[in-house]
């Protein structure tokens, strides 16, 4: 659709924070996330013929961003890595506002990103959307272009692989993990994202046009 330049600008304004949240968590590096997000937005803008205001527009934007990030992750994986977590990731958090929690959350973010990077990109992407950002399995499936069952299995395998790598972080925010919580086969529920109000699961009332 021609003449949508400004409409696209509005779209970007509305979704940029959520898209950024996805990109920075998927890549774990602000500079690379910035480049990926910019590439994705340009790409989306060029595909504006696919931008028709249907209910999938938010999903579509997310998918382009996720794919741009995954491309980078795969390219990164193909390169010989210098280290698991390069110094740029440290710079990521340097400019942040100082606060009582900065040190701890910085540490957590870096540790989590380092652990995430050991997973296959597909599992990373699923965990970023579902566990880190609280998207529903259905929404994540739509964004990733895979079935909900595949989202679940990628999340499950990713969590299992992360378990030993996050051992030192577990229990920091709650009771010791060994407290043998009762387990049933009830559906697993994501805990409330109380510390991330800006990126919680987005209700229809907030987004309006999609479930995302």
């Amino acid at each position: 659709v021609n003449g949508d330049n400004d409409a696209f600008g509005l779209l970007f304004t509305r979704h940029k924070d959520r898209l950024w949240a996805v990109a920075v968590r998927t890549l774990g590096d602000t500079e690379e996330a910035a480049d990926a997000l910019q590439d994705a937005m340009i790409s989306a803008f060029r595909q504006a013929s696919g931008f028709r205001g249907d209910s999938a527009v938010t999903t579509w934007l997310h998918r382009i961003v996720v794919n741009a990030c995954l491309d980078r992750l795969r390219r990164r994986a193909a390169r010989p890595t210098v280290s698991g977590l390069d110094e740029r990731a440290m710079d990521v958090l340097a400019p942040g506002p100082p606060g009582p929690d900065t040190a701890a959350s910085t540490e957590t973010f870096l540790d989590v990103m380092a652990a995430l990077r050991t997973l296959p990109p597909d599992q990373q992407a699923a965990l970023v959307l579902v566990d880190m950002l609280g998207y529903s399995v259905m929404d994540a499936a739509a964004v990733l272009g895979i079935s909900p069952g595949t989202v679940k299995s990628r999340c499950a395998r990713g969590r299992a692989r992360l378990l030993p790598k996050l051992a030192h972080l577990r229990g920091r925010g709650g009771p010791p993990a060994a407290s043998a919580a009762p387990v049933s086969s009830a559906p697993h529920e994501n805990p409330p994202l109380g510390n991330q109000p800006a990126t919680r699961r987005v209700s229809p009332a907030e987004g309006g046009e999609t479930r995302l």
Partner: protein, 309 residues
Amino acid sequence: VRGHADAETLAALREELLSRRKAGRVSAHLAACPRCAALDAQLAEVTAVLTRSTAPPMPDALTARIEAALAAEAAARPGTARAPAGPVPAGAAPAGAVPAGAVPAGAVPAGGRPSRPGRSWLALRVAAVTAAVAVIAGGGYGVAQLLSSGSPAETGASSGAASGAAGVPAATPNSGPRMSGLRSGAAAANSMARPQVISSGTDYQRGTLAAQASAVLAAQGQAGQPTTRPAPSKAAEHQPTQFPGLQLCLDQVTHGQRPLLVDVASYQGHPAAIIVLPATSQARPRALVVAPGCTATTAHVLATATLPG
């Protein structure tokens, strides 16, 4: 199963990915085995750790950078100048005369909470396209319109969008006059509300914002606003890519007041627009600094200052 469950099996159980039979077996084992129960609890903690981890917010500079990139992309897009002619029939042109900021601002509340989720997106789309017609007719991501000096014929409300599109050459974004009338749907509907948009090249600074704004305002007053059409300046060249949403932004931050000055320049070395609002009965003239990300819904006000006198 006599043996213990591994983490992947337990994770699959949590996602209900196991067959009913296997799920039953593993669940029964879990209930009786503290070691596997502990492992299962640790799995829940993995999700909790991921959920707790925060990441840096999107830097404002990145927003500006991407908006600039999008604007450049729009400016380079072939055929952009004729955009309204295709999808928007001539009969729709009067809709473009609705104040450009009013429509999207109404359709997209700042809180982003449309009352009817099912229909609101469509409303947004219509509004957004209407805004695009009103603001973008020149083909430069909205700002071309700001740069083109409106002739009376072109500002006619009934044909504003369509004739604007035809009347503005594609090269406009790179050849806009330094000082020009702001022409848009809103301006066409109410010419009294048409502010001057200039590009003075001033790099405003935090400490001297008020003084610099006063100086530019004074200089502009001497230049004779309505008729002056100076040659294109260097500063004007990059305007279109810097302020994709300036018109919508103005509608939002001015609250209907006619700005004394809109200067697309820089602040502390970064692209910014300096908007000077007139004095009111309660307040002296005020200068606002907005970042290129300023749009109808997000102000991005970087700084404010009260002008002397």
